[in-house]
């Protein structure tokens, strides 16, 4: 710490010193780069016209879902494959509320959060009895059961899917374009802040303790059962809210959207971005949501430039993208579990080492 301070004083001017103090800790540079990048991307999408607005809207919705999953998987360390099930619950609750007095805006969101909280609590019960593989299997069971229930409900009542009315806040129509994007970003920021605040308290500490070692946490007086259930409930609530927003984004709720592949995609997001932080979850959500659009626009051109026939890609776009994401997921889980954040962190460490190496080199030279 003191050597850092000395180094800062040798830095150039006040700006360097404050920046140096802010970025003094390993990892903070990575966070700064990721945060700034996300913020820039969000602002770019805001003023980028209808298409970018649309991409930004889906990014924001998936980002909320990814935060929901990262509370459970990243913070509390309980790997579950049921993200899409909770989104389905949110979407179907929103769809069922359409036409009732409760369809006015904040109510569907709040009801989704409450229902998601309760189902999350229920889904946490298996997690009390076992963890690891068995929990993974029980979440798989939940995913399939929710899909079956929503499918049966939908085919019995609304074969074409449940319609969701355009989003209004008071008299204002905010269902499309920039205004909808602003609403989504505001909600995303709110969720982010709430989770950040919760994790700053003892709750976050308890989750981290449970993640590292449940036995050790219990021995140190952490009520593992209680906080684990809270993690499941909070994750369920946030993910269900994401499902509600998704329903508003698409304009309907259809069980086919919320299949196992979506659950896997959500887990891929938080692993690719960086499993240990919310910033990682956001980054992963943006990467996985935006990448298909970029590939669709650019990849055929790139492949043609390399002299490779791009037909196989353009004809099988969604399958090829799914394959690519699955490959990324596989590699990230096995070889770089910290994802993008881990890679940036490594680069930062390298940069710091070379920088401090040069500085120490200079100090050894100067006395001579």
């Amino acid at each position: 710490m003191t050597t850092d301070a000395i180094k800062d004083r040798t830095g150039a001017g006040v700006l360097g010193r404050t920046l140096g103090r802010m970025l003094g800790r390993q990892g903070s540079g990575t966070q700064f780069v990721m945060g700034a990048g996300l913020l820039a991307a969000a602002l770019w999408a805001l003023n980028g016209g209808p298409f970018l607005n649309l991409v930004g809207q889906s990014c924001a919705v998936y980002a909320v879902a990814a935060i929901g999953q990262s509370v459970l998987i990243g913070s509390a360390g309980q790997i579950a494959l049921s993200g899409a099930a909770f989104m389905a619950i949110g979407a179907f609750v929103t769809g069922s509320l359409a036409g009732t007095p409760l369809e006015t805006f904040p109510f569907p969101l709040l009801i989704c959060a409450v229902v998601g909280w309760l189902v999350g609590l229920l889904s946490g019960l298996p997690g009390l009895r076992f963890r690891g593989l068995y929990l993974l299997l029980s979440s798989l069971a939940l995913q399939f059961m929710v899909t079956a229930v929503t499918k049966n409900y939908q085919s019995a009542r609304h074969p074409a899917g449940l319609e969701v009315p355009p989003l209004h806040i008071g008299p204002l129509d905010v269902s499309t374009g920039q205004s909808f994007y602003i609403v989504l970003i505001t909600l995303l920021a709110t969720v982010y802040l709430v989770v950040a605040l919760v994790e700053r308290t003892g709750v976050g500490l308890a989750w981290r303790a449970i993640r590292e070692s449940e036995e050790a946490a219990a021995v140190s007086g952490v009520d593992a059962v209680r906080w684990k259930l809270y993690a499941f409930a909070m994750s369920g609530a946030i993910t269900a809210v994401a499902g509600c927003l998704m329903a508003y984004l698409v304009g309907r709720a259809d069980y086919e959207t919320y299949n196992l592949n979506l659950s896997i995609a959500l887990i891929t997001m938080i692993y690719i971005g960086g499993i240990r932080s919310r910033l990682g979850a956001l980054t992963g959500a943006v990467i996985i949501t935006a990448l298909p659009y970029i590939l669709q626009l650019r990849l055929p051109g790139w492949l043609a430039g390399l002299g490779i026939d791009a037909n196989w890609y353009t004809e099988n776009q969604s399958i090829a993208n799914a394959g690519l994401f699955n490959l990324l997921f596989l590699l990230v889980v096995l070889f770089e579990p910290e994802g993008v954040q881990g890679l940036l962190g490594k680069a930062e460490r390298l940069l710091r080492r070379t920088l401090s190496g040069r500085r120490t080199g200079r100090t050894t030279e100067s006395p001579a």
Binding site: L137, M145, L260, T268, L330
Partner: protein
């Protein structure tokens, strides 16, 4: 009467397919505590390699053998190249990563063969028998014979051969087995090869009866999870028994309640077993808590 008889026949055939996929899960879990989500992917690979060979004019038996060996070799190579280094340290991370492998295999097959269902030309005799009011095709008998042969062979191998005994030793106590000079990496490679081969057979058995498409076949691989939990994770014979039991329950639900509730009941059953009897009907109790 004939509806029930037909349902029983369907149960035995479907159960055999579940069993064939399930033995692979059991072998892998015993050898390395890895629960592979990629079994459906290997099954898919088997079905489509077999499809290519058969439509290319190869006769039935050589096609089965070539498919099995190809997929087994591929599975072993994938393990050695991608999973081996991590699997030894972290069985759980490896299990999670196999989800990705399943998706990659599914996408590869989808790009190569398209997503529309493909049906095989008649490779085995199209003759059908009538037994107690149920129509039984030769393909059904072939599928069941395959499953019974594979499970019997595996049980014999595990009981009596050198490699089988080593696999049992690793399943019992991996650390001790390694201290006694058994290479757990080699055992795991063999287990991956066997799991790939049996999954390929499951794919073949499935494609004899139904049109195959990437999504449908991969779903069979996922539906094998309730089957193996019923039978007991890590029990080879239990995988077949669990498969038959699950298929029977599914048919009962289909007839009694409606086809829309088959998945729900299957997975609710799995959840119930996870809660109250995680070792399944035939599993050993000590492999339960992870």
């Amino acid at each position: 009467m004939s509806v029930v008889a037909q349902a029983v026949v369907g149960t035995i055939v479907t159960g055999s397919v579940y069993g064939l996929v399930g033995v692979g899960f059991a072998l892998l879990f015993r050898a390395s505590k890895v629960l592979s989500f990629a079994q459906g992917g290997f099954m898919l690979l088997g079905a489509f390699v077999f499809y290519s060979l058969v439509t290319g004019g190869r006769p039935f038996l050589p096609a089965v053998l070539v498919t099995m060996i190809t997929v087994a070799a591929f599975s072993a190579v994938v393990y050695v190249l991608i999973f081996a280094r991590v699997a030894a340290r972290e069985a759980f991370a490896t299990s999670v990563a196999t989800i990705g492998l399943a998706g990659v295999l599914q996408a590869a097959v989808g790009i190569r063969y398209g997503t529309a269902p493909l049906s095989l030309p008649d490779v085995v005799s199209t003759r059908a028998f009538r037994i107690l009011g149920a129509v039984v095709q030769v393909a059904d008998i072939v599928a069941v014979v395959m499953a019974v042969t594979v499970v019997a062979a595996l049980v014999l191998i595990l009981r009596h051969s050198q490699i089988g005994l080593r696999m049992n030793a690793v399943a019992d106590n991996a650390t001790l087995a390694v201290h006694l000079g058994i290479s757990s990496a080699r055992i795991a490679t063999v287990a991956w090869a066997l799991a790939g081969g049996t999954a390929a057979l499951a794919g073949i058995a499935f494609s004899l009866r139904s049109a195959v498409d990437p999504v449908g076949v991969a779903n069979i691989g996922l539906l094998a999870f309730p089957a193996i939990i019923l039978g007991g994770l890590g029990s080879v014979g239990g995988a077949l028994a669990g498969g038959l039991l699950l298929a029977g329950i599914q048919n009962a639900v289909r007839i009694g309640i409606g086809a829309g509730w088959v998945d729900f009941v299957s997975f609710a059953l799995m959840l119930g077993f996870l809660f109250f009897r995680p070792s399944g009907l035939f599993g050993k109790a000590e492999v339960v808590r992870l």
